[in-house]
């Protein structure tokens, strides 16, 4: 009785398969890269900014970012479009240290099939990696938060690109050196501004542990409500201990992050108010992703200054030295 249905269904399915294979065939060779262009693909937004900085002014390069602005790299999911970009890549610029949680396995496989994979963290000496307590020896991946380390990453990328493209080695080296100077200036200004916060209040509480390098570089204690990865859960006991400390020290503000839900931070603020302490959400920090291109936090330097301005302003320091210089391209 069902042979008619079988026949109809089989016809429909065959038709669908035929249409799709036709679509697949038509698309052959439609990649829009110039034939001689090298394709440099960067994973997270800080990495894309680093690649653009180091490769500035070099002809014959196309730089593509995988993750859109404002997306959490710990949770970013691969899509077919991302796979297509990666399949064309000659060089992949990644952060490493498992920042790209869902891509961690893909990168070595790409390297095996002949693509050059540069991990920013591997350009930084291992003894300068931070390891959070009780993280099974897992190093903190948020290395771009320390300008000195990010300058090392730029140097590493420059020598990696010079091996790929020896004709422009001088250009890469010059770009990295110029970026190193800018990193030094940013670091000086941020350090000076943080130093204006009253010492007892120098406690930076954020949604997840993204600011360990920032704190170590600029002399401010850091606590994250969540662990290193935004995937880990918030323990109630941790939350209570954090609340005790914040209230006892009279810290006026805690911070949410653009790429992380603010639930846990909101719980902290409510908890403090219930105890009669004055605690506010001090503003939104760019932790794991830069802002949309064209906004003040759309590149690495702007993001560092903007974060510092938010922190220093909310914790009662003097943020007037953090306005952006005219160094933007």
């Amino acid at each position: 009785m069902s042979s008619a249905i079988e026949r109809i269904l089989a016809t429909v399915l065959l038709g669908a398969i035929a249409c799709a294979s036709g679509a697949c065939g038509r698309a052959d060779g439609s990649a829009d890269a110039g034939p001689g262009d090298r394709v440099v693909v960067a994973t997270s937004t800080p990495c894309a900014d680093l690649a653009r900085t180091v490769c500035a002014g070099v002809p014959g390069l196309r730089i593509e970012g995988l993750m859109p602005a404002g997306v959490d790299p710990h949770l970013w999911r691969p899509t077919a479009g991302g796979a297509r970009i990666l399949a064309r890549a000659d060089v992949v610029v990644a952060n490493g240290l498992r920042l790209e949680g869902r891509m961690a396995d893909v990168l070595p496989k790409l390297a095996r099939s002949g693509c050059t994979v540069f991990e920013a963290s591997s350009a930084i000496p291992m003894d300068r990696w931070r390891t959070a307590e009780d993280a099974h020896g897992q190093a903190d991946p948020h290395v771009w938060m320390d300008p000195a380390l990010w300058a090392l990453a730029a140097e590493g990328l420059a020598s990696c690109m010079a091996r790929e493209d020896p004709g422009h080695a001088d250009r890469y080296a010059a770009n990295a050196a110029a970026f190193g100077l800018r990193c030094g200036r940013v670091a000086e200004r941020v350090r000076a501004a943080i130093a204006t916060i009253p010492p007892g209040r120098r406690l930076l509480v954020t949604a997840h542990d993204a600011f360990g390098y920032f704190g170590a570089a600029f002399g401010i204690e850091v606590r994250g409500v969540q662990g290193l990865s935004t995937e880990s859960e918030t323990g109630l006991a941790n939350l209570r201990a954090l609340l005790d400390e914040v209230v006892a020290r009279g810290v006026p503000a805690v911070f949410v992050e653009t790429s992380v839900p603010d639930r846990a931070v909101a719980a902290l603020v409510e908890g403090a108010r219930a105890r009669g302490a004055r605690l506010e959400t001090g503003g939104t920090l760019h932790s794991d992703a830069l802002g949309v291109p064209g906004t003040p936090a759309g590149d690495w330097e702007g993001m560092m200054l903007e974060n510092a301005r938010t922190i220093v302003g909310a914790l009662g320091g003097d943020a007037s030295g953090l306005d952006r210089e005219g160094t933007a391209p």
Binding site: A23, D28, V106
Partner: protein, 322 residues
């Protein structure tokens, strides 16, 4: 008609080495899943697929804690051990404690999943061991993991899943008569010399091997959907097991194509791409397309049986006949 143009542009971006392989791998998975899927549905054990998908978590987390690596061999070994533990546990509950089969399965796999969650919390702070991300792969990235076979670069997943499909067909062909008999009438099967418990073990092992082989490169959502949904849809249209398996494989292949097209086209057509969303998840869209296949088959079945109510009612009361 800018939306139609957007859809066409999205499909024009397809490349054979990524999208072609995504569809090929999905189609191979559909074939690999059709054999154990059809048998599970015919034996009224379709919840076992969901059970296996959840039960492998403690195996994977335990293997990570033991080995400290996320090496494939450890992960697959751990997953296999956990799946065997689930089968043994639910069989024990069913036989010795007289718990109903589905309930036994539900108890066994939720217990193992809970154990797995506890292990993940133990391991997870600072380490990305979320089962939905790294340990279970994503079909979109499967084409990027290439090995050289016969002088060509071929995705490893395609080889692994093709081998699984071949093994499934071979095992089913070799043990066909006892499996068939035990699927419908266990008493008769026992009397005829087939051992239903052994057949259960063979089908369970086949489903487990398929799950483990596919999870690692495709992810769990797509595999659970591929095992059960096409077989259920095919059961509405076929009365015999072999055409049912063939139709299930065809449903799976068609849903892979439809799902991947939908994943690429939906965001530009709906205007989501302005907010940075370029594609939807292929696995999710394939699962949705499988649901649509089932709805289509159920609708066709309803239309047909309205014309012949007696025959339809009769067929509905019997799952299928050998």
């Amino acid at each position: 008609m800018s939306r139609a143009h957007a859809a066409i542009d999205a499909l024009r971006a397809w490349t054979p080495e990524v999208d072609g392989w995504i569809i090929a791998i999905g189609a191979l998975a559909a074939v690999a899943c059709a054999v154990p899927g059809t048998l599970l549905v015919a034996r009224r054990q379709s919840m076992a697929a969901d059970g296996i998908a959840h039960a492998v978590l403690p195996g994977i987390a335990g293997a990570f804690l033991l080995s400290g690596t996320r090496d494939l061999a450890w992960m697959a070994g751990g997953a296999a051990v956990a799946a065997v533990a689930m089968s043994a546990g639910s069989a024990f509950l069913e036989r010795r404690l007289r718990v109903e089969r589905d309930a036994a399965l539900g108890i066994a796999y939720t217990a193992l999943f809970a154990l797995g969650l506890a292990l993940v919390v133990r391991a997870a702070d600072g380490v990305d061991i979320d089962p939905s991300c790294v340990l279970f792969g994503a079909i979109e990235f499967a084409p990027l993991d290439r090995v050289t076979a016969g002088g060509r670069a071929v995705p490893r997943a395609a080889l692994v899943i093709a081998a699984t499909a071949g093994a499934n067909v071979a095992v089913a062909a070799l043990a066909w008569r006892p499996i068939l008999a035990s699927s419908f009438d266990r008493g008769f099967a026992r009397a005829a010399g087939a051992r239903p418990a052994a057949c259960d073990a063979i089908v369970g092992a086949m489903a487990t091997a398929t799950c483990v082989a596919c999870f690692e490169s495709l992810g769990s959502v797509i595999v659970v959907a591929m095992l059960v949904v096409p077989a259920c849809a095919a059961r509405l249209a076929c009365a015999r097991l072999v055409p049912m398996a063939a139709l299930a494989a065809a449903f799976g292949c068609g849903a892979t194509v439809l799902g991947h097209v939908a994943a690429c086209v939906a965001a530009p057509v709906a205007g989501l791409d302005a907010s940075g969303v370029r594609e939807l998840s292929t696995a999710g869209c394939v699962a949705a397309a499988l649901g649509a296949c089932f709805a289509g088959a159920a609708g066709a079945r309803a239309v047909m049986s309205r014309n012949r109510p007696v025959d339809g009612a009769h067929a509905a009361s019997l799952p299928c006949a050998p």
